[in-house]
């Protein structure tokens, strides 16, 4: 293993930490009822989105699920806009109408935030189709959990993308559970990457607790996709450290299993490696933590200062016509 470029390594660490610390604060805010609805945390899985999105260009597109705070942040959505969204205020990236599960930010290529499992895949295929038709060298990265693999929309989308050679990168975040359902209880074939063979799509598994491994795989895949190599598929093997959502009593898995996975916390792994390679010391780490903390603080302050949309505008954005706030 050759040493990581120190600056880049620290950058990756900071990116993951931004996601982690933001979400830890979200969890607190949830218990204070500042954030409501469903809240799905990405804690433990940060290396997956970080490694992939690091390889994307600003104009590239991301389609994600309800567990997408990290994806939006890493793609460029300001943390302020994300927190404001969870507060349900006008300054949120979706104007307070979407909430935690529906972060949108077209300026940064963030196309949701789709809370129907599997529902984002056809949309990602369509974005890629538009790019192909328009001759744009854009890549659409579509994130989804391994639970989505059982859905018909997964299957149909995989086939369309492969049949039409579309520039999509399918990123399956295999964290072994769909809510309480372990992979082996939902798939007759548990080797997710192998499923891509049924569509003649290049696919391979990646240790997604190792952000560097993810980045390496993503680099290869993104390049291939961008250069007309058709859709690619990454199985990002990861683990969710926390409950599925804030309501989940986690009856379906062992504490010991969680403990074992926590030993491979992607942030700890990278921190250790950087320290081992002499690229990070206590002061460096403290600097990162401090920057991140102040970004989180600022985001919370921003959200706290947000303004609710006037109730009179309830009917806005149902259709595009300037309806003056009325309901069509």
């Amino acid at each position: 293993m050759s040493p990581l470029d120190p600056a880049h390594g620290r950058h990756l660490l900071e990116q993951m930490l931004r996601v982690r610390r933001m979400e830890e604060r979200c969890a607190e805010l949830y218990t204070q009822s500042k954030i409501r609805g469903f809240l799905h945390l990405y804690v433990g899985e940060e290396a997956a989105a970080t490694g992939v999105i690091e390889q994307l260009e600003p104009e590239d597109a991301v389609v994600a699920t309800y567990r997408e705070h990290g994806h939006a942040l890493l793609k460029g959505t300001p943390m302020t806009a994300i927190l404001a969204e969870m507060y349900g205020v006008a300054e949120g990236c979706s104007g307070g109408r979407g909430g935690s599960m529906h972060l949108f930010d077209m300026d940064h290529g963030v196309y949701g935030g789709n809370a129907i499992v599997g529902g984002g895949l056809p949309v990602a295929v369509g974005l890629a189709l538009a790019d192909q038709l328009a001759g744009r060298p854009r890549v659409t990265a579509c994130f989804f959990g391994e639970g989505a693999v059982a859905e018909g929309e997964f299957h149909e989308s995989m086939n369309l993308a492969a049949l039409w050679d579309l520039p999509v990168l399918f990123c399956c975040e295999n964290n072994l559970y769909a809510m309480g359902t372990a992979l082996a209880r939902s798939e007759s074939e548990t080797d997710i990457a192998a499923k891509a063979a049924a569509y003649e799509m290049p696919a391979w598994p990646v240790d997604a607790m190792d952000v560097v491994a993810v980045e390496r795989a993503a680099a290869r895949a993104v390049t291939a996709v961008r250069n007309g190599g058709g859709p690619h598929f990454l199985e990002l093997r990861t683990y969710r450290f926390r409950a599925h959502s804030m309501f989940d009593p986690e009856r379906y898995r062992d504490k010991a299993e969680v403990r074992t996975w926590r030993e491979r916390d992607p942030i700890d792994l990278l921190e250790r490696r950087l320290r081992d390679e002499g690229s990070l010391d206590d002061a460096g780490m403290a600097g990162i933590e401090e920057r991140v903390a102040s970004e989180v603080d600022a985001a919370v302050a921003f959200a706290e200062a947000g303004t609710p949309e006037p109730v009179e505008t309830l009917g806005r954005h149902v259709t595009s016509e300037p309806t003056g706030g009325g309901v069509r």
Binding site: G88, G99, H102, E151, Y252, P308
Partner: protein, 326 residues
């Protein structure tokens, strides 16, 4: 009589059905090991095992279709869909098969399936988890649509639904799960063809069902304070509608407001309004009023969500618009 929650009442109903009839099984996403997305089936996995409390992959079309096939094969499946929005993935199976097989086969293929799902808003789950589509489903011939609103109905409707030789869709409003109420022991199967008058009154008929029943009862209380005596009709079943109960009530009160959480245009309220007009036009002292949800995909922000939903104030205003001032 004892006090219990809607959630527990529903769970008791499931457990009783599973105990009574070997052909009954429960199938759906996370009904087993997880204990049910909203905790309804908690503990059943332990009692009845993974064959009868069957966790499914995320495959709404296939497991609803499998329920239909199992019903054709002589079982009595109860299929749970976590949230009404996800049922759209299974609509082909629901409309093109469950609702249609009996007719298409010339009466051979009964489909005695019960499909349960959570419906409704109020928990800030936004536009892909919050809709109220039960009234919309009531458009489909061949289905029975039931909407338990009380603890007793949560406990006692399921068995009638299971006894029905045809497909029944049972909608549980998410906001009701935690609601407490009096449970009548041994009430026995509910007559699903009959609406229930939850409050008698003479001045106006407030017609509703499911999640909005508590709101309507609160509005009726408020009206009582203003000297207006409202009758509250809980439809219970949206297909078929109990015309006799609806028209009977309106014929007595001469005024009606229909309250439901569906979007207004094309809502079940429209159907009820049309039927009232058709049935007792010359008894009406005022046009039938409707209080529905605003026609928006449900927004996340709390104040917007509240504004989108039927409210006591909205009902009071609708009653006022009938010319009733107490």
């Amino acid at each position: 009589m004892s006090t219990t929650t809607y959630r527990e009442a529903m769970r008791d109903a499931l457990a009783a059905a599973l105990r009574d009839d070997d052909r009954v099984f429960l199938m759906g996403e996370d009904v087993g090991a997880y204990g049910g997305c909203f905790g309804v089936s908690l503990g059943l996995f332990e009692e009845f095992g993974p064959e009868r409390i069957r966790d499914t992959p995320l495959s709404e079309a296939a497991f609803v279709g499998a329920g239909i096939g199992a019903a054709l094969g002589g079982m009595r499946p109860i299929v749970e869909i976590m949230t009404v929005n996800f049922s759209l993935l299974a609509l082909d199976q629901i409309m093109n098969n469950a609702a249609t097989l009996l007719h298409m086969s010339g009466g051979q293929c009964n489909v005695p399936i019960v499909i349960r799902m959570t419906t409704g808003a109020g928990r800030q789950l936004a536009a892909q988890h919050s809709h109220s589509l039960e009234g919309w489903y009531a458009h489909i011939p061949g289905l029975r649509i039931v909407t338990p609103a009380t603890v007793d109905d949560a406990r006692w409707m399921l068995q009638t639904a299971l006894d029905d030789p045809d497909p029944v869709l049972l909608f549980e409003h998410g906001a009701l799960y935690g609601a407490e109420g009096e449970l009548t022991d041994d009430l026995g199967p509910v007559d699903l063809d009959r609406a229930a008058v939850r409050r008698s009154g003479t001045d106006v008929s407030l017609i509703t069902y499911g999640g909005t029943l508590p709101t309507v009862l609160a509005a009726a209380e408020e009206l009582a304070g203003r000297g207006i005596d409202a009758e509250v009709v809980d439809l219970r079943t949206l297909r078929p509608l109990d015309d006799e109960a609806i028209l009977g009530s309106v014929a007595r009160t001469h005024r009606a407001v229909v309250v439901d959480e569906g979007w207004r245009s094309g809502s079940i309220s429209a159907e009820i309004s049309a039927r009232i007009t058709e049935g007792v036009f010359y008894e009406l002292d005022a046009p039938v009023g409707r209080v529905c949800s605003a026609e928006v995909p449900m927004p996340y922000a709390r104040h917007l969500e509240i504004a989108a939903l039927p409210s006591v104030d909205g009902i009071l205003q609708a009653v006022e618009e009938l010319g009733l001032r107490g």
